[in-house]
Symmetry: C2
Subunit: 499 residues, 2 copies
């Protein structure tokens, strides 16, 4: 059945009678607080649905009935945790130089995902920690005059966050803005005269050092994009309109593209777009290492919104550097574009590994209803330009696999990157339980949320500064300290890392 389609805005597309009603009722049953009128309204306003889902993300709902696809791990979580207290948090690093292309996704991670190859697990966690760093180092304090920037200068970033162990050096910071009004995406300072009214620190470019390069068999350029931990905010703000990327039929969500591509001469930090900044740095690094005769790879990572930006980054890089091995490792990322977008990425050899958690709603965005039904519809009628579609291979995790996590639908916690890293650490295969020799510190899961079982007695949301950063001055008055000079963001192009 051919449908008249507005290629840009799919929101108001009426549902055809051919739509599978079973799917719709399934959605109704899942979100049983919200009723969707099948009969009366032919067109369901997606904004209202978006709002409902958005509210859902902020609700703590009573635990659903468990379907035990996996055997519950009956080991006592507390006993397990206590047994590990005196153990290092990571295993010795393995040399992967003779299989780095496969680990990097060269063969679409065939036979490496289920069961999960230990070396791949380690790499996924490495990139996941790079993504997590974009949150840990971000100044969220709206009372700070530097709200929206990185807390540290790039030479200090990994040292401050305990990430020097990975053997990478940060070479550049990325700043982004958006020409569209997406109010809750941008972290803004309460202070009027501030470092930037328009831009946010959006991530960084890093390079493997000599030791790490030897271990992994090539020089790896890693790009980490910052996402959001409260996806409901931008989900409502994103218009869920597709926009062409400028080549062929590939189209991507307009809000993501705006963050990736926006620039304005009147800003301090985005006279060039995030895209320009990254491409320039990748180009520079590539040239440098190619002249030395080194093999180079590009690995782009991000959580949530950051995973979406990572994909846009990969697309652009594949056009500019056709022979460069490019992979995306994303965590809890939403859909980004249409089938043509997916196909072009595939055609250009970009490899994407989407790490998802079954209970996480974000990977099902946007078009969480529409897409399921239209997918079905799609199967009947062929390519529809305006359907959001996922790209690449999937590592699908399940919160129920871990004995350390609370049961119940804590959507904020389920979506959190630390939950992802925890589940990757414990993942063996799709029909195994959490591996007992997992070493990653379980306490990290509760840094920003409330996911760990009470028995572990790890406080929820524990990652915090003493007295919210206030310090007592010589007179005993509590004051906000000034940032060290070297940590104050500066739009002047930082001198390049001495390579």
């Amino acid at each position: 059945m051919a449908a008249t389609v507005n290629p840009v805005n799919h929101r108001h597309q009426p549902l055809s009678a051919a739509v599978n009603h079973r799917n719709r009722r399934r959605v109704t049953a899942s979100f049983n607080e919200f009723t969707i009128n099948d009969g009366d309204k032919r067109s369901i306003k997606s904004t209202r649905l978006a709002k409902l889902i958005s509210n859902l993300l902020n609700l703590y709902i009573e635990k659903p009935s468990l379907k035990s696809l996996l055997q519950r791990n009956d080991c006592n979580a507390v006993a397990q945790a206590e047994a590990k207290l005196d153990l290092p948090t990571i295993s010795p690093k393995g040399d992967i130089s003779n299989m780095w292309r496969e680990i990097h996704g060269g063969s679409d991670w065939e036979n490496l995902l289920d069961p999960l190859h230990p070396d791949l697990r380690r790499e996924v966690i490495k990139y996941g920690e790079f993504a997590q760093a974009t949150y840990d180092a971000f100044d969220f304090d709206s009372f700070s005059e530097y709200c929206g920037s990185c807390l540290f200068n790039r030479r200090k970033l990994f040292g401050k966050l305990g990430l020097t162990k990975h053997g990478y050096d940060v070479s550049k910071y990325i700043y982004a803005m958006s020409q569209y009004e997406i109010p809750r995406w941008l972290e803004k300072s309460y202070v009027a005269d501030t470092w930037s009214k328009d831009s946010n620190w959006m991530g960084y470019v890093a390079v493997s050092d000599d030791v790490e390069s030897k271990r992994i068999g090539r020089r790896d350029i890693a790009v980490a994009w910052r996402g959001t931990v409260l996806p409901s905010e931008w989900y409502e703000d994103m218009q869920r309109d597709l926009e062409p990327l400028g080549y062929g039929e590939a189209m991507v969500e307009r809000g993501f593209l705006s963050i990736y591509k926006s620039k304005r001469m009147t800003t301090r930090y985005n006279k060039t777009s995030a895209s320009d900044q990254v491409m320039e740095e990748v180009k520079r690094l590539l040239k440098f290492y190619k002249e030395k005769g080194e093999q180079v790879s590009l690995t782009i990572t991000g959580h949530s919104l950051g995973g979406a930006l990572a994909l846009l980054n990969a697309y652009e890089a594949s056009l500019m550097f056709p022979t460069l091995p490019i992979s995306v490792i994303s965590f809890g990322a939403p859909r980004v574009g249409n089938i043509a977008f997916r196909d072009e990425l595939h055609h250009k050899g970009v490899k994407a590994l989407r790490v998802t958690i079954k209970q996480d709603l974000v990977p099902r965005m946007p078009g969480i209803v529409f897409n399921e039904t239209l997918q079905k519809f799609d199967d009947l009628t062929g390519t529809l330009e305006w359907v959001y579609h996922h790209v690449g291979a999937e590592l699908k995790l399940d919160v129920r696999a871990s004995p350390f996590l609370k049961r119940g639908s804590n959507f904020i916690g389920i979506h959190h990157p630390e939950t992802y890293l925890h589940l990757v650490d414990g993942y063996v295969s799709s029909n195994s339980t959490f591996r007992s020799d997992a070493k990653r510190d379980v306490a990290l899961v509760n840094k920003y949320c409330d996911m760990l079982v009470n028995e572990l007695r790890i406080p929820p949301c524990w990652y915090q500064l003493s007295n919210k950063g206030l310090v007592s001055n010589e007179f005993g008055r509590w004051v906000r300290p000034k940032r060290e000079l070297e940590d104050i963001p500066s739009p002047i192009e930082e001198e390049n890392l001495d390579l």
Copy 2:
């Protein structure tokens, strides 16, 4: 109009037709979210009203229309705060030895409250900080095996909280339990095998050292009782039944009395009641100092529930030590007993100074409706045994007097002891604005709540430990540290302070 009265339980007393309807409508207008049916129901269930008020205490309600009884202080709060950054937080101490009895309330603080005498202000703040210490040092962490105890041993308490400046030494800790089930009053540890299942640390006894005693003209025994910062919790739990104190017609609220008096041989910390513990210590100290020929006073303080306990403590002390000058300095305390209770305290020469904030609801509890109306009723018909009544003189503060505080009905913040201390610090008289030479650190107001204007850029609820007390062990794992041995609570009678 004589009414048939149940002297114990006033809850179901029907409202007489003679009740002043104007009062009732005034209450309705104040809590305009809740309608009270005048006509239909003659008896209003106080439990439901209690619940409504309880909800109210947890609501942040949009700001009401301002009645400007006081001139707004137009000084820029930020400018004021910045000007004080390099100033000490307190003025030099004044010698009050020649007027200590008046400052202690010997003449009911006549001519000392409006305008507020500077030496009285300093003393009120001193006792207020003693009361605040009961919160700052309390282990609220339900995941801690010592939840409900004091964080520090008594020799360290004042040092840890920066209160040695007051020149007092803590001589004993007080523990309390309740025979009645008042679930939300008692802080309980999540851990099964814990320091105490029944008791909470409830306060302490302290004594002025030689230097301070000289300044204030006598040896002062200070008793500080811990209250609650979320009064709605115990307000619902308290039955609001009056119980006789055991002497005459004096009756007090049953829940307060239970905390003060309960004991059980099967407990670790309350084989003796809080009352027994305090009386024993006061008796011991009195004997010691009287033998040395010193003049001694007893000053009892507390915030909220602690203020109620302070009054019970004062009543008992007045019976046991008839010639001892006894004063109560309370902050945001509810009503405690009936008129007979008030009269007996008055008759025994106990002096009570109630520091209240006009917008704070707690001083109007219990019986927030009933009492207003019956008070009126009372005026017509004389003493009613079961009417809750306030005791003593009042220092009535107003949140609108301070340029540093947000406008609006933040009931939790308004009730907070740091808000009280802030307003006392700035108080001059009932028709003056906040004094410009007030020195107390304004930032302290936001330790536990969100009361300061945003312009000051002091984070709300800032008083917190780095990483909620977790520390990184040698393997980089985040763990809960053990308490130092000396800070572990022990029921064994601590050796007395070497006097």
